[in-house]
Amino acid sequence: MTTNILEMRSITKTFPGVKALQDVTLEVARGEIHAICGENGAGKSTLMKVLSGVYPHGTYEGDIVFENEVVEFSDIRHSEAKGIVIIHQELALSPYLSIAENIFLNNEVKGAFGLIDWNKTNSEAAKLLARVGLRENPTTKIRDLGVGKQQLVEIAKALSKRVKLLILDEPTAALNDDDSDHLLSLILHLKEQGITSIIISHKLNEIKKISDSVTVIRDGKTIETIAKKDVTEERIIKDMVGRDLEHRYPDHTPHIGEEILRVENWTAHHPQDPSRVMVDNINLNVKRGEIVGLAGLMGAGRTEFAMSLFGKSYGSRISGKVFKDGEEIQTRTVAEAIDNGIAYATEDRKVYGLNLIEDIKRNISMASLGKLSRLGLVNDNEEYKVANEYRKSMNIKAPSVLSKTGKLSGGNQQKVVLSKWIYSNPDVLILDEPTRGIDVGAKYEIYTIINRLASEGKGIIVISSELPELLGICDRIYAISEGRITGELPIEKASPEALIKLMTMEAPR
């Protein structure tokens, strides 16, 4: 008898041409919160897919021992029956069904004649919701909930399956700080109830806060498992990237020049409900060579501001003025914004940024086909050459520029998005959550690229939920709350405390 609930012994998983996992060992003690860290592409997801039966027994080498018994899962249902439940980063809830229907989806509460007993379904769901601390009616539709609450529904669903080992893949990636805190305390709470958790995360401060031990995976191999008392962010980072990262943020000496972009009295209303003001009279400016941060909670109007500015891609009844190099410009359509030297890299690259079924080359050229074409015909060879140059200069890891972007890791996808916009040769780049869901090493590369662009004299606006990131790379930070700018701090005066105060303050009317 050991105290381990789970042991994965010498797991090796090969895909054609790639060894995704090599002799990986993972030991999880009963009742602990075990974090798994690693760069994207390190093999974390593959390991979890082996564990949950997505890759069934026989497609990998090695043994999985769960509760002192060797298990051979043939599919997910099999592993769930044993009490292993995985919650994926992209939630798997059906938006038009109610909370209760989602919780018991494919696990329905049946009464007489095998028909669904709705009263029992809803009351059972209510009990589960109470356990995860979600105060919502079980009949509420999923689409009416925010991401944070949806995440809680996923956990309630896991609880309904009598989960013993809960696996959370990047659970807080899409959550704001409040929701993240709630989720983390819930995980701690579940631990008290005897549920073991494995949490995959890029957020090192979270890991440090809640986990009892940390296993780091790099290049498909286990590097080490660190006990709680020895966990430091530096040690995890060192294990993840295989080298010391002196600083998490590259050095950056700003050379700030003339004002390049000024936005005056920018206001936008909700697209469906034009009486709601989403962006309220925003004034801001960016200078050449300057990296300006836009800090705000989710829903504060950061993305809404950027998208309404970028060709009226969001909102209704938009008003305000935009000046570039002191002259007023129009940004009524995306094409016009691009022509006027503005680029906007969206926060959700898979939904809004990339054509995932298309190759790297065609994604990079997408916003600048005019430059590559004559008489309406695209020069394929030139396009290939350009894309290849970006592949090298941006260090996009892919066999060739003909690889589909859907097959790249998050960090490499983001580099493709940035390549697309850099190739459009903008004067001002608005980067919305440029490092969301990508690993430490790739983040560093992205920051380096941002610095390079600034030193070329471009103006950069970075929108981010991660305050350390903004504090690490920006020269000046605006705080935004309820659609209004609530403060502006030069980097010397900015601190997390000062920013959070501004971000959460009730906007003056």
Binding site: F15, H88, F310, I338, V351, G353, S373, N381
Partner: protein
């Protein structure tokens, strides 16, 4: 799937030449799987019909009988790549056929004015549907379902409960004409063979230049032997096909129209900015919009173009029958849609080629023709075509899944 942890690190050392050559052949065969399927169907029916299928007259018929479906398939694949569908093309073809009858027969306008006016009205019909789809935002399925009823109805209105027939000779040539005996009578028409040779030379020059261009930019190209082998195969195929036509009546006018369309639309989809925008919209509409693609305008133009091609198909069909009737174009939309999907277009949009749609259309054509020669009834023909569509798409899905693609 959260992140594709596994498929990233494949930047290995370059493979050796032999494996690279083999992988080229395999990729090409995979890409041209549908072409191989066409050959298989042709071989099967040549055996079953004891060679009747490949008789010169029948080959010529195959083109002329399927020309209008192939014209529709060209427009349809563009519509499908952009993530739409068009159910109205059969009705639009019937409507335009009727309208052209009024122009050419009842009003006795010169044939070329009748044709130009008819094509313009087709484009207008497309603009009408494109307006609702692109600018009002109603799904193409609904708009074109309505269009299917509207234009079938209007066709009947224009015909006024009767057929319009006996079109002028030049008009009829669209569907029935041949370029033949221009240089006098020969057992093997020299014009046909001459055009074939010119086409082959053009193709070879274009292929060689494209290969050289890619090489000069340091791109991976197929091994020279395989390149030459492919060209030789194509040359033999084209010559055999031309010989068959030359020993019958020469080149059908319909084939010339088709060849021009395939060339133009091949360039539009492959190389033009507009074509790129179509694929971008089909692949991810949001991303295309946020990259500055004017998605509404592109959607609108796609349907204007579909209306134009539906009109052209209507003219070719009417010319062939020498009759504009109420039943014209019945079921064309289904054959055109089938052709696009058999040819590898994806239901979700973003994927599909003109070449694929043409080959898909030819597979349907050979099935129709072969089964008719064998005397198989219309009921079984329908059932078999349905099964072929289902299996073709299932095979495609299976293939993609095996390749681990999306």
């Amino acid at each position: 799937m959260s992140d594709n942890d596994t498929l990233v690190e494949q930047v290995g050392p370059p493979k050796n030449r032999a494996t690279s050559a083999i992988s080229h052949v395999i990729t090409d065969l995979g890409k041209n799987g549908i072409f191989i399927a066409l050959i298989a169907v042709v071989v099967l029916f040549s055996i079953l019909t004891q060679g009747i299928l490949l008789r010169p007259q029948n080959i010529s018929n195959l083109i002329v009988q399927n020309g209008y479906i192939l014209i529709l398939a060209i427009g349809m694949v563009i519509v499908i790549v952009a993530g739409h569908i068009d159910l109205s093309v059969g009705s639009v073809a019937a409507f335009i056929g009727a309208v052209s009858g009024v122009f050419a027969v009842k009003m006795e306008l010169p044939w070329w004015i009748a044709i130009i006016l008819s094509l313009l009205i087709g484009a207008l019909v497309g603009a009408w549907q494109g307006f609702w789809i692109a600018y009002v935002g109603i799904p193409a399925f609904i708009v074109t379902l309505a269009g299917m009823l509207i234009f079938r109805g209007l066709a009947l209105v224009v015909l006024g409960n009767s057929n319009i027939g006996s079109f002028p000779e030049e008009y009829r040539a669209l569907g029935n004409g041949f370029l033949t005996n221009v240089f006098g009578e020969f057992p093997v028409d020299p014009l046909t063979m001459g055009i074939a040779v010119i086409a082959i030379v053009g193709l070879v020059v274009q292929q060689v230049r494209s290969r050289a261009g890619r090489q000069s930019y340091g791109q991976d190209v197929e091994p020279i032997a395989w390149f030459i082998a492919k060209l030789v195969l194509v040359t033999v195929g084209v010559l055999a096909f031309a010989y068959a036509l030359a020993t019958f009546k020469g080149i059908p006018v319909t084939l010339i129209i088709l060849a021009v369309l395939v060339m133009i639309y091949g360039i539009v989809t492959n190389r033009s900015v507009f074509g790129r925008h179509v694929y971008a919209i089909g692949g991810n509409r949001h991303a295309a919009e946020l990259s500055g693609v004017k998605t509404r305008r592109v959607d609108f133009l796609i349907f204007v173009n579909m209306g134009f091609l539906a009109a052209l198909a209507g003219l070719v069909f009417t010319a062939r029958l020498n009759l504009a009737g109420p039943k014209a174009g019945d079921g064309f939309e289904l054959e055109a849609i089938s052709a696009a999907f058999i040819g590898g277009a994806a239901v979700q949009g973003g994927v599909g080629t003109i070449g694929g749609a043409i080959i898909g259309g030819l597979i349907i054509g050979v099935l129709n023709n072969g089964m008719s020669i064998l005397g198989i009834g219309i009921e079984w023909q329908q059932a078999v075509k349905g099964l072929v569509l289902l299996f073709a798409v299932a095979f495609d899905v299976f293939n993609k899944r095996r390749a681990g693609g999306r």
